[in-house]
């Protein structure tokens, strides 16, 4: 649940980037950080292992300014994608107001995407949250590999595997090149803020 300070007129929203290991969650946040560092007066915190894998989580807070008199603070988190770190994922997911699921479009990652989405559903359930009700956006990442003729899952397959029932907004993206990274973030922020607004009314 978002942290709302009515006295200070401040809302703090937590958005978690979820998805299979090496799918590009950290790359998404790094792209935002590197490209808007001058406009966003904040620092990104990342804890990685030797092989550049996220060990615990990445954390990137920033303000988007005042809206309807409320100062909106956004906190972006990533979870470690590797299967073995489920306890960490669950902790990071606690109190999430919005989720971006970064699916890996590589054909070899098809099963990993499905397992990770299932894991997200279970972990949300642990906090009495329903995956169908949480502000949620899909990002089908690594689509840039298409031009390199690497086997990529067709959009229909990605949608069919992951989004057929959920029917959430989705973006084809390349976190490495920055394609649709901002669009994904904007969408999840809008959905999250709207959801918080609705819950306050």
């Amino acid at each position: 649940m978002a942290f709302v300070n009515l006295k200070k007129k401040e809302i703090q929203a937590k958005i978690v980037y979820y998805g299979p290991g090496r799918g590009g969650k950290t790359t998404n946040i790094e792209y935002i950080y590197k490209n808007f560092e001058d406009r966003i007066d904040s620092k990104m915190v990342a804890i990685k292992t030797q092989g550049d894998r996220t060990l615990f989580f990445d954390f990137f807070p920033f303000n988007i300014g005042r809206i309807n008199g409320y100062k909106i603070k956004i906190q972006l988190y990533t979870v470690p994608g590797q299967v073995k770190y489920n306890a960490t994922r669950r902790v990071v997911l606690n109190g999430a107001d919005g989720v971006v699921f970064v699916a890996d479009a590589l054909a070899v990652q098809r099963k990993a995407n499905i397992i990770s989405l299932k894991n997200l559903q279970e972990n949300l359930k642990h906090y009495q949250k329903n995956i169908f009700k949480v502000p949620f956006v899909f990002q089908y990442n690594k689509m840039d590999l298409l031009k390199k003729e690497v086997p990529i899952l067709p959009l229909e397959a990605l949608t069919g595997d992951l989004n057929e029932q959920l029917n959430r907004p989705s973006f084809v993206a390349s976190a490495l090149e920055g394609t649709n990274v901002v669009a994904t973030l904007k969408k999840i922020i809008i959905m999250t803020v709207a959801s918080i607004k609705m819950s306050l009314q």
Partner: protein
Amino acid sequence: MIDNHNESFSCPEVQGRLDDLFKSNEKTFVDRGIELYPDDYPLIELKSLVLSLDWEITDEIITDFMMHTDNLTEFYRNDKVILKFLHILRALGKYIDANRSKAHPDCFKILNSVFFALDDVILTKDISRSETEKLLKIEIENYKKLRKLVSNRKLTKSREKEQYSLTKNVPKIVKDDKIDCFQVKSESHMLIVSQKQLNDLKNDIKQFIHSEFIGLRDELKNLK
């Protein structure tokens, strides 16, 4: 965006604020052209395998990877620079095959780096010999660094094992006044250790701790 979003989530004030914050830096696929490789590009399969190896190491992928490097070695048998790139790739493939998930994490970075350098060499039209040799030299250096990291890792592991076996069955040291040395009694054997040997042991332990610190510093540098 694929248009299937829930309209109840519209929030024009936030939209406006975000447009201001992130303006002029958005990229979408609409304004991007997709460049395809030429039909006769010989590395297509290998590229797919290199990227697959980064995600999952299976017998099938490894076998295909080795087979494709062999085929390309035959195909480029008259080009010494390309052959050297392929030899490095093959060596990395063998290392990954032997070590699987225990392979040094940097080996996947180097595998990608070597492959993409080779990709540049083959794809870049009018690339000069000196440029290709320069690229090769960089990758050879990377490969050597990896070998060093791997051997350091092995050394540290074997020392850890030694340390473990030493501590597992620690012999008891008993002072014997009759002889100018220590008697070391363990369950399985009896050793006579002189003062000099003890000093040597101490020095070995000091050196081991020193090398461990060097290893740790390297790890910290890599983390940065």
